[in-house]
Subunit: 357 residues, 2 copies
C-alpha cells in the first residue's frame, strides 16, 4: 500500500491502528462471529461500546462528574439547529461570535428561533483573525462561539469570558488541547476531525443547564430526552460511535489531550516556521490567531501554483488545496497526523523555494 | 470464525461479501492508500460513491426519472420530524395510519406542527393487524403510513388508495419487494435493515411535491435544500452511504427487488408453515397481514421459554427474542438472511416440538 500524507480537512486522518481494529470489527466483532455492522444497538456488546465512548469523552476532557455525553447522527449542523431550541427561551435572545462559515450557519439557524445578536465578527477581513475584547450582554440566554475555524485557519487561544452560559462548537479542535469543561454549558463536535469518522456528533453538557427554557420540544430535538435515553432514543450511528471509541482509546494510550497538544504544537511550529522563513509563501491569518489544526497559506505569486501542486502531489501529499472560498493552501494537522508528514510537506516547500524563489 | 444465524431486527445481517469489501475499504479504499474513513466527502472518489448510491436506489425501485434521492444522518426518527415541516402547510392537516411504535412516534412529531388526524389504527388489538378499508380525507396535505411494522410483525400487502400525496416509512421492508414509486410523494427509510448499516437514512421523493407549503424552513430541515445540494449541504454519513451502495450493488447482482421478493417469500413460507404446523407455537398477528420481514410468534406455554431459548442458542441462532413491548419471539428475515438460517431455526422448532409437544 502506498504511503499517503493525508492533510484532508475532514473527514480526516485517524490512527492506522484504529483503521486496523475498525476493519477487523467489520469482519468479526470481538470474536462474536458477527460484524459490528450487523449487531443490535441494544445488544450488550454495543451498549458497552456506547458506555465506554461516553466515559472516554469525559475522561479525556476532564469533565465534571455530573456532565452528560450524547452521541447523535446528523452532524454539527444539526447541532446548530437543536441548540437554540434547547437553550433559548421563547421570546429570549442569544449572542453569537462570527468567525467564519460554520459560525455563520449556526447564526442562521438561531435566527429561526429568536433574537440573535452577533456580538463579534471578523467578517470585515474575510475571517482572517479572532475578534477579542468584545462584550457579551448579560441579558441573553447563552453565548455561542466556534473554537477553531477549519476553513480560514484561525483558533481562539483564550476563550471569551461570559456572564451567561457558554456553548462552543469544537468540531475541528476537540481533543487537541486541554479545556476547562466546567466553563461550558455545552461543548459539541462533529466526529470527523479528531474524534472519528463522519456520521456521529458528540454533545458534552451540563444537565443542570438543560430543559430550562419552557419551550415545548419535539423528542428528536430535545437534548435532555437524548441524554435521559443514553443516546438510544432512536438507533444511534453504531459504527461511527465505535470508531470514535477506538480513536479515544488511542488518545488515552498516547497520553491524553495534554500529549496531543504537545504533538500538535510541534507540528504547527514546524510548518508555520517554514511559511515564515520562505519568502515565496505567506500565511493568511493573523499570526497570534493561527490555528494549530488548519494552517492556511498562499504562494505570493499565484502563477507558481501549478508547479507547486505537481511537486507535493509527487511526494504523495494529499488534501492541501485551500477551501474554495479562500483559495491557496490549507494543511490540516489533526491529532493523528504524524510529524513525519509535516516534515514531508516542509521538505517540498523548501525544495520549491530553492528552485523557484 | 463461528457461523451465527443472525435474526437481529436492525441493525441486521448484510451480505458477507459486503462485509468483506467494507472491511477492505477501511484499510485501503480502492487502492488509494487511504481509508474510506479518512477521505473528504467532497473528494471525487466519494462523490462517485454518493452518485452511484443515489442511482442504485432509483434503479432498484424503478423510480421515475425525475425523482430525487437524498441520504441524511439522524435516522428515520429525524424523518418523522422533518416530514410535517416539508409537507404540511401552516394551518394545514395531515392524516396518519397508526400500526405501531414507529407510526406512533411519527404521529407525535406531526402533532408538533399542526392538526394530525389518525385515520386508521390497530392499537385496539396491540397492533396485531393492518387496518383496511379506511377513508383518507381529501382536505389533508398528505397521508403517512408505515409499510411494515418491525416490532409487531405486520405488513401492508396492498397499499391504501389516497386522494392526497402519500408518504411512506419503508424502513423495515424497502427493497424487499417491488413497489410503484410513482404512487408516493416520498418514500424514506433508515438504512439499517435491508439497505446498510445504522447511520444513514434515504429519502426518495418527487421534487414536484416539495417546497409547496409556504413554510419557512431551517436549511437543515429542508428536504429541498438537501436535494439541491446533492446530500452535501453538510458532511454526510460517508461510511454508511458507502456500505449501503455495496449492499445495493449486491441486490442488483442477485436479480434486484423481484428476486429479493422471491427469496423472502420462500423464507417466510418455511417459517410460518412451521409455526402453523407445530401446535406448541402460535403466530401473534392476523394471518393475512403477516410480515415477510419480521415473523412474531409465542410458545403457547410460556413456561417452556427457557428450554426453547437454550436450544436455539446452542444452534448459534441469535436475536429472536421478541421486542420488550411484545414478548415471545421475533425472527427478522431481511434480504441478506440465507434460507439456510431459516431452516436452522425450523429444525430447532421441530426438535423442540417433538421433545416438548
Amino acid at each position: 500500500m502506498k504511503k499517503v500524507h493525508n492533510y484532508s480537512a475532514g473527514p480526516c486522518i485517524l490512527p492506522r491502528e484504529v483503521f486496523e481494529k475498525a476493519a477487523q470489527a467489520v469482519l468479526d466483532f470481538e470474536g462474536s462471529g458477527l460484524s459490528i455492522l450487523e449487531i443490535s444497538h441494544r445488544s450488550k456488546p454495543f451498549e458497552a461500546v456506547m458506555t465506554k465512548a461516553q466515559a472516554l469523552v469525559k475522561e479525556l476532557l476532564g469533565a465534571p462528574d455530573h456532565y452528560q455525553v450524547v452521541f447523535l447522527g446528523g452532524g454539527a449542523s444539526m447541532g446548530f439547529h437543536m441548540i437554540p431550541q434547547n437553550y433559548m427561551k421563547p421570546g429570549g435572545k442569544a449572542a453569537y461570535a462570527n468567525t467564519g462559515e460554520w459560525a455563520t450557519r449556526a447564526i442562521k439557524e438561531s435566527k429561526m428561533f429568536g433574537d440573535t445578536v452577533v456580538v463579534a465578527s471578523s467578517e470585515d477581513k474575510n475571517f482572517s483573525y479572532i475578534p477579542k475584547g468584545f462584550d457579551i450582554p448579560g441579558d441573553v440566554d447563552y453565548f455561542h462561539f466556534t473554537s477553531n475555524n477549519t476553513i480560514f485557519g484561525t483558533q481562539y487561544k483564550q476563550f471569551p469570558k461570559s456572564p451567561v452560559p457558554v456553548i462552543c462548537d469544537m468540531s475541528s479542535d476537540i481533543f487537541s488541547r486541554p479545556v476547562n469543561v466546567a466553563d461550558f454549558a455545552l461543548i459539541y463536535a462533529g466526529a470527523q476531525k479528531n474524534m472519528g469518522p463522519a456520521g456521529a456528533t458528540v454533545y458534552l453538557m451540563d444537565p443542570e443547564k438543560l430543559g430550562k427554557t419552557g419551550r415545548k420540544l419535539s423528542p428528536m430535538m430535545d437534548l435532555k430526552n437524548h441524554a435521559d435515553k443514553e443516546s438510544m432514543y432512536n438507533t444511534p450511528p453504531v459504527y461511527a460511535v465505535y470508531v470514535s471509541m477506538l480513536t479515544m482509546e488511542w488518545m488515552k494510550r498516547m497520553g491524553g489531550v495534554a500529549a496531543m497538544e504537545q504533538r500538535n504544537a510541534a507540528k504547527a511550529k514546524l510548518l508555520y516556521d517554514a511559511i515564515d522563513r520562505l519568502p515565496i509563501f505567506k500565511g493568511t491569518t493573523a499570526v497570534e490567531d493561527r490555528s494549530m489544526m488548519n494552517a492556511t497559506f498562499v504562494l505570493n505569486d499565484a502563477s507558481l501554483e501549478p508547479a507547486f501542486d505537481a511537486l507535493w502531489k509527487e511526494a504523495n501529499i494529499s488534501g492541501i488545496r485551500g477551501h474554495r472560498s479562500v483559495g491557496g493552501y490549507r494543511a490540516s494537522m489533526y491529532n493523528a497526523l504524524p510529524i513525519e508528514s509535516v516534515q514531508a510537506l516542509v521538505d517540498v516547500m523548501e525544495h520549491f523555494a530553492t528552485t523557484h524563489g
